[in-house]
Symmetry: C2
Subunit: 242 residues, 2 copies
């Protein structure tokens, strides 16, 4: 049965729309080659992403003032380069370049065609913990067809804080139940449900690599469970006439 | 001599990118026909726009808390319908429809091709006093090729308050002098210059109709004076390699 009344499709970005692991690992491998450093790029990418939740949590809990994701990425990068014993080989310029690899990530193949289709009859927005500039660059670089970029930065905190979802709905002037969040992570789906958004869990079996343990649809409660953005478009009822 | 170092082209919307007068007058004429009301649609559109600056000024000065442009448009519409002696013919639904005519305005013909060209090698953003939802709908409806929508709503005040331009540069993570504002109004150009943005005055001889008095390039101090977005693209130096 199609889900009705959805005026805005808001989608999570890292993991849900783009393959951060491949994009970051490639950038790490290229930088390591330039610097003559021996680094397992996949292990490095995984370790970098592992620091994501603790770093965001410090801001979300109020233990730390708002800083954007670029800054958090830089801090965890500095720590990781030392832990991988290659700190002395990467200067500031190379580190800045690595932080920017999160601005240029490859989309999963279903994203472009799926968003294009969704966008034909409703508003499509990125809703991510990435900063506003990061998301703007990422959407442009990946050629994502979006109508709006809704960064957590606009709320001054991070998902799954309720304020992020509510700010998104307010800015697009829709009720929470007129906005559907698409995400590959249970905590994001739960955060959206808690403030009354509709939700679509999108399973990304390869998000964390061939041996990773991504979230699975069977473990997540959501209005819809889909395997890609194209399939999502099939599950939404056409919008009612304005 | 081309202007160098511009990473973001931010453009004003009403008058600069879209022909508000024609769009609004058509909507007023259609509504008047539906309601059997005799209204000079061009005079009505002009009078509606005349209320723009006083209404925004109340928020900018702090005399009034933040309200978005839709709300201000509705208040001035209610007043104007009475002044045009047709108030009793327009119910709430029709009034809401008229307010939404500001979300669906025709672009000037140079805008699509010009923005497409500008967007090929830098970030292009709408920077308007229209609300975030209004601008998102307007850009989508008019098919404007933009990378970002930067509403004054994100700053909680209206142009030419310096906070609006500074918020835009901060969100896109550029220095003020790396952002160029394109506008057809002297007060907007002056506001942008005051905080260190680069500026391009774009003359729109027909913005206020065949007998109107639009701002003229000869009266405005700006880095560039152009007659359209396509010409603007010719005046910007290619971006330096990152």
């Amino acid at each position: 049965m199609p889900v009705e009344g959805v005026r805005v499709v808001a989608f999570d970005v890292f993991g849900t729309a783009v393959d951060w692991r491949t994009g970051v690992a490639r950038a790490v491998a290229a930088a390591a080659a330039r610097r003559g450093a021996a680094v397992d790029e996949w292990a490095f990418a995984d370790a970098w992403r592992e620091r994501y939740h603790p770093a965001l949590g410090a801001v979300r809990s109020g233990r730390r003032e708002w800083v954007n994701l670029d800054r958090l990425h830089r801090e965890s990068l500095d720590e990781l380069l030392d832990r991988f014993d290659v700190g002395e080989l990467f200067d500031d310029r190379e580190r800045r370049e690595l932080v920017r690899s999160w601005h240029r990530l490859p989309p999963w193949p279903d994203v472009g065609p799926g968003l294009e289709r969704l966008r034909a009859d409703r508003t499509v927005a990125a809703l991510s913990n990435g900063g506003y500039a990061l998301l703007t660059t990422l959407a442009k670089h990946a050629g994502l067809p979006v109508d709006a970029v809704l960064s957590a930065e606009l709320a001054g905190t991070y998902k799954p804080d309720p304020h992020v979802y509510r700010t998104a709905a307010r800015l697009l002037d829709v009720r929470p139940d007129e906005m559907l969040l698409v995400a590959a992570h249970h905590w994001d789906i739960e955060g959206a449900r808690a403030v009354g958004l509709r939700t679509a869990f999108l399973e990304r079996p390869l998000e964390k690599g061939p041996h990773g343990l991504p979230d699975r649809a069977v473990d997540v409660t959501s209005d819809l469970a889909v395997t890609g953005f194209t399939e999502l478009a099939e599950h939404l009822a056409p919008p009612a006439a304005a």
